[in-house]
Subunit: 491 residues, 2 copies
């Protein structure tokens, strides 16, 4: 295996693209903008799914499944939703193919045109709220707390593996509530679930905030988000949770009888995270040698590699390795013993480094004689020799330590890349030279936000929920401001 | 809740359609032929998925994800596959919508026509084998054992919830092997995994067999199947596993270097089961009172219903109920305590009967005084009084007993509905009056198979793997036959 990975400092974007492919996470497919998620990448996604699914169920949600297709007319029903979502979509117009006149190729059967075109879902608010109309009559039917794991399609012109693909996998929660207060609390709760997941499971520090009107989800009253910072100083929106007010209930006429018997429209939320998180994972932790995976997300947490000459050594070393594997597995640790005789230890070391396996254990003849193991950790690339009596607890502790260390490292990087600026020159200077989040006063208008974007490509990532009240003047217009917002260039 | 469920004896088909909707499993959506899988139905599907996924991984398979869309031209590459799969499909022709001249509705943007139409996958052999070309170079890359959980679309004209829907959920395994022997063994192994799953997890007895040439998967050399029998005497194909030979490898030019360095085409299999299994589950076990679920698949295995007057009784009974719930949960049993005060016990009993909850426990004031519980089992609709000291082990044993009892009941029904016939009059008589599988000699020709289908609507469900060698004469033509095959009307 030849790594030949571009260095991050040379070309961060190229490094990312190469790493995703070389580490067997994903690759481009024959279909423009659609990716193939390879088994190693999918195994990481499955771990994310399992943990998120557990968290959703723990907070009272159930899974369901709604149609892939949405009738075109549904998108006209919620006015602001049309512009945001019904533009760059895959449109199904026909339902049959036929053999062409050449007898070999196939062509679309012109007689099989749909009366109404179907849109491949870019998000499912419309089809779900059309369904909820039949499910909700009374306050007893509320809250309705539903999540869907699904594929969605948005016809993106410029795509990048995981970060922006025409088809991607995600979960979308869609809830219905009797009161505004409950719906807002749900939207906030799910933002908190996402933040908890990102930080404690993915080891990615995030800032919780709300989006400006300009960056809000199409059809939302308020969009909550978690924003992460990548190693190149660009921000990445890692999850959003929307308070939708009564917009979709009104568009699809979903009313309920409250306890007093009065009819009212239902209050809604929706929230989602996607395979984009795979991109965030790679770009937060990995290095010039390859992937670095937090132990929680590693499909293989520990790999054991034997170093031997001849069958006799191999057998003695294998016995030790297998015993260690069994003891680690008892603790719920995922272990692979790589005893392939088709590849040399050096090749294997490079392969597992590239694939981000957190802990590598090597056993050679000296180790066998001394009752030791060589333990290498992926994040720091350091090695130590551990005696047999301590090995299991050592590895178990090490995995926990690495999970925490990766979070702290990312947190330090993030915190050192939030810069307060008070002039537009400083603003541009930080963006040019230091990158990261820029904390600046803003006059609260969309016009200013768009002007700054036009001049610098930086957007307002969020108004942090924990920002302090601080009177100031807008970094661009000088108009009054009640507090700082976070700008950054973003994925 | 009003059940008003049509009786099976009155109209089996109507009973099924009503039950699926009333038991909250699924419903039709606004999109023709596409269903909504409701939370209760989806929870059952999740249990199927989890068990199948475990079985696939135990047999060495990994999950991956391939694109939803397939370029139209791919379907022309494997000749027999075209006719079987590229006909009734959803075809994406455009990638953008725009606001219409009225400023309100939206329409397809005629300038956004795709150069090549994309087909929403009806099955993924073509896109996957196109991908495998890049993954397989040498025998070291084999076997490649991959599964995908996905949605697929086949534009069916007549649809029925779960049994035949335009969009459905499934898993599709796609494996690549160095030798024919290995590929055949894989196809057989997966048929056995499906049979094991159907029988031991779903409590549905199945017959393992191979399909005739006529009923084979488009592009397969051999199709293995498991066939189940529904309560109305119609057969249902519950899963298929295909040995694809080198057909797809040749169509997509997937070669490998064997150990001797010689190039050869790869050998393939594919295998799948779908949400159709939900239909099989309902039609195998349920009765005129509603769903009957095997404990393995029940989202709620035990429900506890309190019967009380006044707060004081309620509190004492709730304390007992919660203690029982905690003890059962420790054993991994899923328990719901339904203490809603908005519904009476009789209403709750009817609801859980309809939804097929295996065990219902009621606690009233007399039970409290006597230290007893009333335990009702869903399959036999029988009740007994159990003393407190025995309750946990009683319920735990009962769940196991019910799982076995449901299988045995279905097995007896199935076995009593396999009829050997030797004349075509007998054949028609059984089909008309007794229904079920008809075991008959057949001359091995597609012409006879099609003629019988035309005359009786019965098809050859399979050639059972365990059929005995028995010379005979075809029930229709009188031509020689080497063994009996199983005919039936089928879903």
């Amino acid at each position: 295996m030849s790594k030949n990975l571009t260095k991050r400092s040379e070309d961060y974007s190229k490094w990312y693209n190469e790493l995703v492919v070389k580490a067997d996470l994903a690759e481009n497919s024959a279909v423009r903008g659609c990716m193939v998620i390879k088994p190693y990448g999918y195994a990481i996604w499955e771990k994310m799914q399992a943990e998120l699914d557990r968290m959703f169920k723990e907070t009272g949600h159930q899974n369901a499944y709604f149609p892939l297709f949405i009738p075109k007319s549904f998108f006209s029903k919620e006015a602001s939703h049309v512009d945001g979502f019904a533009k760059e979509c895959a449109v199904v117009t026909h339902y049959r193919l036929r053999t062409a006149a050449d007898g070999k190729t196939i062509e679309v059967d012109p007689d099989a045109k749909l009366e109404e075109e179907l849109i491949v879902r870019p998000t499912s608010e419309t089809i779900i709220w059309n369904t909820y109309k039949g499910w909700i009559q009374s306050y007893r039917d509320l809250p309705l707390l539903i999540n869907q794991w699904a594929n969605v399609v948005r016809w993106e012109m410029r795509t990048r593996l995981f970060l922006r693909t025409a088809e991607f996998l995600w979960q979308e929660g869609h809830t219905a509530h009797a009161t505004e207060t409950e719906a807002v609390a749900e939207a906030e709760q799910m933002m908190n679930v996402y933040a908890d997941f990102a930080q404690n499971f993915m080891a990615i520090p995030v800032i919780k905030g709300i989006k400006t009107a300009n960056e809000r989800f199409a059809g939302a009253i308020e969009t909550y988000c978690i924003e992460a910072l990548m190693q190149d100083g660009k921000a990445l929106q890692a999850g959003t949770s929307h308070f939708l007010g009564q917009n979709f209930a009104k568009a699809f006429d979903v009313k309920f009888a409250n306890k007093e018997g009065k009819q009212d429209y239902v209050w809604a939320t929706s929230w989602g995270v996607s395979t984009r998180l795979m991109g965030a994972l790679v770009m937060t932790h990995s290095d010039d040698n390859g992937l670095v995976l937090p132990p929680n997300l590693a499909p293989i947490q520990v790999v054991i590699v034997p170093i031997y000459k001849g069958d006799e050594q191999f057998e003695a070393i294998s016995a030790e390795a297998k015993q260690l594997m069994a003891r680690l597995r008892k603790l719920g640790i995922t272990v692979k013993y790589d005893d392939r005789d088709t590849h040399k230890p050096g090749f294997k070391f490079a392969e597992y480094e590239l694939k981000g396996v957190p802990v590598r254990v090597a056993i050679g003849p000296n180790d066998l004689a001394n009752g030791t193991f060589e333990v290498a950790r992926r994040d720091t690339l350091t090695k130590e020799t551990v005696i047999s009596a301590d090995i299991v607890s050592h590895i178990s502790d090490l995995l926990e330590e690495m999970q925490a260390a990766l979070f702290n490292k990312a947190l330090n990087f993030r915190d050192s890349h939030i810069t307060e600026v008070n002039t537009f020159d400083e603003f541009k200077d930080v963006l040019e030279n230091k990158t990261g989040f820029i904390s600046a006063h803003w006059d609260g208008t969309t016009a200013t936000e768009e002007k700054i974007k036009e001049l610098t490509k930086a957007t307002i990532r969020c108004i942090a929920l924990d920002r302090k009240e601080e009177a100031g003047t807008c970094v661009y217009t000088g108009a009054p401001s009640v507090g700082r917002v976070l700008f950054a260039k973003a994925y």
